[in-house]
């Protein structure tokens, strides 16, 4: 167990060491780059401030993710079952990913006013695409022989989907979730830049404007940890949900 996490720890230390080195090298001014030491100090000094803002952002991220997964999975399944719809809807989905947020923001504001609404919307917007693409590709990749078999057993389309296609595509879905979980955090940050009264994104932005670099880095560290935690959570969920995968190799 410990051995498993040793490399991580080592590399992390190495990374922090490098960071410290570069920071204290002096070639980089400390307005652009705060050293780990300064960052840790900021984490300690502003702890309560950071904590409150973290809660806000975390909440936005979680809500956004849940919505994204629901919508993304739903979209994938529907598009998989209704082929013409897939042909039709895909371009729009892609469009949704190509539109710069500053353009969307005002429209979202129109729709949701300020407050948590637009942030969640943006998180969802960023997250649902990986989920959709991966799940859809997974559903399309099902071993055709299996579908034949189910058809010969007179399974309904629903049964086919539920008993064969979805279980088969589950690993792909989790790949998508991994990506979604990781980028959701950045989504919340952008959301908050489109106007927010608190949250880590805002904190970081203000920090940048007010030249409070250590606080900025403290915020970034928390954001990173948040992304990491979500990623790990998804991976654990996968292990629980896809027990049959790679059973052998481990033995």
């Amino acid at each position: 167990m410990l051995k498993r996490y040793l490399p991580t720890a080592l590399l992390l230390l190495a990374a922090i060491g490098a960071w410290q080195a570069v920071a204290s090298l002096g070639s980089v001014d400390d307005l652009t780059l705060a050293s780990p030491v300064e960052t840790v100090r900021a984490l300690r000094d502003d702890s309560s401030l950071l904590f409150d803002n973290t809660l806000t952002t975390l909440w936005e991220v979680l809500l956004g993710l849940v919505i994204a997964v629901a919508l993304g999975a739903g979209a994938a399944v529907v598009m998989h079952v209704v082929r013409p719809l897939r042909d039709a809807a895909y371009p729009l989905l892609i469009a949704s990913q190509a539109v710069p947020i500053v353009v969307v923001a005002p429209l979202l504001i129109l729709a949701f006013d300020y407050g948590i609404g637009p942030k969640i919307a943006i998180v969802a917007l960023i997250c649902f695409f990986p989920v959709t693409v991966n799940l859809l590709d997974g559903l399309r990749g099902v071993e055709p022989e299996l579908l034949k078999l189910m058809r010969s057993l007179g399974a309904s389309r629903l049964a086919m989907l539920w008993k064969v296609e979805l279980p088969w595509a589950l690993p792909n879905l989790f790949s998508g979730l991994r990506i979604a979980a990781t980028v959701s955090v950045i989504g919340a940050v952008f959301g908050e830049w489109a106007g927010a009264d608190n949250g880590l994104g805002r904190l970081v932005l203000l920090g940048i404007n007010q030249l409070e670099t250590p606080r900025v880095y403290a915020g970034v560290v928390i954001l990173t940890v948040m992304a990491l935690a979500l990623f790990v959570l998804v991976s654990l969920a996968e292990r629980a949900a896809v027990p049959w995968s790679r059973r052998e190799v481990r033995s």
Binding site: D29, T32, A105, P106, I109, G195, L206, Q210, L211
Partner: protein, 312 residues
């Protein structure tokens, strides 16, 4: 960010200037100077570039990664207060441009009308301080006014009617723009409503750069002064230079902006171009300290020593 070679073509000295934002009419003098060949005449080769984010110019100048940057007096004072080693070496725009802008329906003609209204700001601390000062002077209970951080898109917030007014847009840019777009905006300039006057746009450099490249900077400011002079004689030439360098600018808007901005480049009578009035700076520094934006004063935040001398 390795050190660039310090000299440009045929022995001219290279200066890198970072704007405060994407190029716009406020920057016309710089382009006019380029077009008039004034930089070359003074042995300068000036490179102009846009910033990564509003805070970048100060940082880059402080780090010496650019020689000069355009920033805002409040930002400079705060940077000094934070111990960042930058100095304002000359003012480009001699007045505040920041203003409260609203649409007619909101019926905000004077600060008094702000009572019970929603005001959108970019979440910049000193602009919040402006609002407080304005409300205080107008005798409006701050509790009755809701300030809301709408990020950098002040206009969308205004146009989507999510706020009654915005504080942070420039009356000479967003103000004009909205007017041209037939939204006949109500504009209240902050300096007319209780905020001490200050220089909106100032050239800044690190004191190290000031030491090393003092003459070059002086030459630069001189060239800018000539650029402004050219603009007065013939705004078109400078404007064309600006538009040529940035094809995505809206000519009509920019020329309108330039028209109202041109007078703002002029120093007080009998002062050289780029003059930064010490009394104003200390007054504004005091305002910032009183508002709890800084701990120390504005001392040494600017220097007039590098001004070319001679007014316009």
């Amino acid at each position: 960010g390795e050190r660039k070679e310090r000299t440009g073509p045929n022995g001219t000295e290279r200066l890198q200037l970072m704007l405060d934002f994407f190029p716009n009419a406020d920057h016309t003098p710089i382009y006019a100077a380029q077009a008039g060949g004034h930089f070359k005449d003074l042995g300068l080769d000036v490179q102009v570039r846009a910033p990564a984010d509003p805070a970048a110019p100060l940082r880059q100048a402080a780090a010496g990664r650019v020689d000069l940057a355009l920033s805002y007096e409040p930002e400079v004072i705060r940077a000094r207060d934070k111990g960042v080693d930058v100095v304002a070496v000359g003012a480009l725009v001699q007045q505040p441009l920041t203003s409260i802008i609203s649409l007619p329906d909101a019926g905000i003609r004077t600060p008094k009308d702000l009572r019970g209204k929603k005001v959108g700001t970019a979440g910049i601390d000193y602009q919040s301080a402006f609002l407080q000062a304005i409300l205080q002077k107008a005798g409006v209970d701050p509790a009755g006014v809701m300030e809301r951080n709408v990020g950098f898109d002040l206009n969308p917030a205004l146009l989507t009617k999510k706020v009654d007014a915005t504080l942070g847009s420039f009356w000479n840019y967003e103000g004009i723009d909205l007017r041209l777009k037939k939204r006949n905006p109500q504009v209240i300039r902050v300096d007319k409503a209780g905020v001490p006057t200050y220089d909106e746009l100032v050239f800044v450099a690190s004191s190290k750069t000031v030491k090393e490249k003092g003459d070059a900077i002086r030459g630069f400011l001189g060239a800018i002064a000539r650029g402004v002079r050219d603009l007065r004689a013939n705004p078109k030439k400078g404007l064309d230079a600006l538009l040529a360098a940035n094809r995505d600018l809206d000519p009509r808007l920019q020329s309108e902006v330039l028209k109202v901005t041109l007078p703002l480049y002029a120093p007080p009578a009998g002062r050289p171009f780029g003059w930064q009035e010490p009394t104003e700076w200390s007054a504004f520094g005091k305002f910032m300290r009183d508002s709890g934006l800084i701990q120390k004063g504005a001392g040494g935040a600017f220097t007039n020593d590098l001004l070319p001398g001679g007014g316009l």
